[in-house]
Symmetry: C2
Subunit: 229 residues, 2 copies
DNA sequence: TTTATTAATGTAGTTTTTACACTTAAATAA
DNA sequence: TTATTTAAGTGTAAAAACTACATTAATAAA
């Protein structure tokens, strides 16, 4: 029995991660300053090469973990980029993944060590290779996903206020949402737990904190519900 | 300057195509009977390997053309599959593409020569490797896409009746649609041209033929319209 | 000319979405 | 202690979208 397709050409496979985060200043992305050639000193997505005995999903997880120390992160494969000269060093096909993380939780030390930095989506610098295209593609997919299932919870701290949730969605969709309509829509989904606890940072009155109810959410997902914001 | 990432592992990259077609018996898929090992004699998606100086999109186009003789076909990249042993011969990552074609137009000769065959979606045989998964994934994506933009026109002959269009959508979405509501929704999109010509095959009265108005469609696409069927 | 067959067409009831403004709670300052 | 300030919390009416549904029209064949 055959044990190789000897005539076919092999190529390098890279994985690039578009890492989204959110804080009170809006939607952000994690970029790294390259400290090697080519394009040394320019900003880039976080990436690496697929290893011989590694599955793409695991490569993405490994790369994310290397730079942020995080595990158990929501990631989704996006697209394979294959322009001949996309990487000037050598023919490389790159599969992109996007991740959503809570900015508060990651390991700030590690990020510093790698010269990584958070940028507002709107103020992201020019990136190497085809990484600008990857980023735009990821933003589009994030918007899309968000309008279908309420994926964005991954970007918030465990306990959050309705205002935070609202602002997250406004940041992702980059449009203003009506506060009352938003709250009643979210409530009608019945995927949040309202706590007795209040957040007293943002106002004198204080605002109730919520947690995301993953069980109820999974249950709902089966009937592929649509969230129309 | 660096001219290779010498430490990294190279892999084989395959492209597999999920080719959808439609005729008056419903939604179909084009499969090929493998005439080489491994899995000789089993059914498989149509595929091939990426060449050294080829972009993935072109590989998909080349493969589709090889088996059907068709050009200028709607294709969309779907997903990269990378399980370690997905191909028992050798580590291979496969990027899937799906295509929509009009069954009437393809080269029936070529298909015969390659032992390729059309199967109803519902009656597709068991496939090699992870091709079943690819197929299911593609069906899901096709449904999804269809519910967002009226992609399905690619599957019909140039001139078609409202009934054909309705049946196509019913086949893709695998649910019954209300004829009147469907027609008025399609009409409200204003992306069809109603011809003076009638199709007299299906009834005594005859039914008007339509063509798809690509210009108007592109125009609409800019305001990312949603088609809710 | 009657019959049979599929095409074509409109509306009323229901549900969903949108737009919109005042009251409440609590801390701080007077 | 009272007044002031700040953001939180809440409901409704109008508009739009969606759903369900049945009759008439055109033509070919008998």
């Amino acid at each position: 029995m055959l044990n190789s397709y000897s005539s076919a050409d092999k190529v390098l496979l890279a994985v690039d991660c578009i890492i989204f985060g959110f804080d009170n200043q809006g939607l952000k992305i994690l970029l790294i300053k390259r400290d090697f050639e080519p394009e040394k000193g320019k900003w880039s997505l976080i990436g690496g090469f697929l290893k011989r005995d590694e599955v793409l999903d695991n490569a993405a997880i490994r790369i994310l973990n290397t730079y942020t120390g995080l595990n158990d992160i929501y990631m989704e494969q996006l697209y394979a980029y294959s322009e001949i000269d996309r990487d000037p060093v050598e023919r490389t096909i790159s599969v992109s993944y996007y991740a959503l993380i809570n900015i508060e939780n990651h390991n700030a030390e590690m990020i510093k060590n790698y010269h990584a930095q958070w940028f507002s989506i709107a103020e992201a610098p020019d990136l190497i290779f085809d990484h600008n295209e990857m980023l735009q593609h990821a933003i589009r997919r994030l918007r899309y996903r968000t309008s279908i299932k309420p994926i964005g919870f991954e970007l918030l701290p465990e306990k959050f206020t309705m205002r935070q949730l609202l602002e997250l969605y406004e940041a992702i969709l980059s449009k203003e949402l009506d506060k009352r309509n938003f709250i009643s829509k979210i409530n009608s989904l019945e995927i949040l737990n309202k706590l007795d606890e209040k957040d007293m940072q943002s106002s004198r009155k204080g605002s109730y904190l919520y947690t995301f109810n993953k069980e109820k959410y999974e249950e709902k997902l089966l009937n592929d519900f649509v969230l129309n914001l």
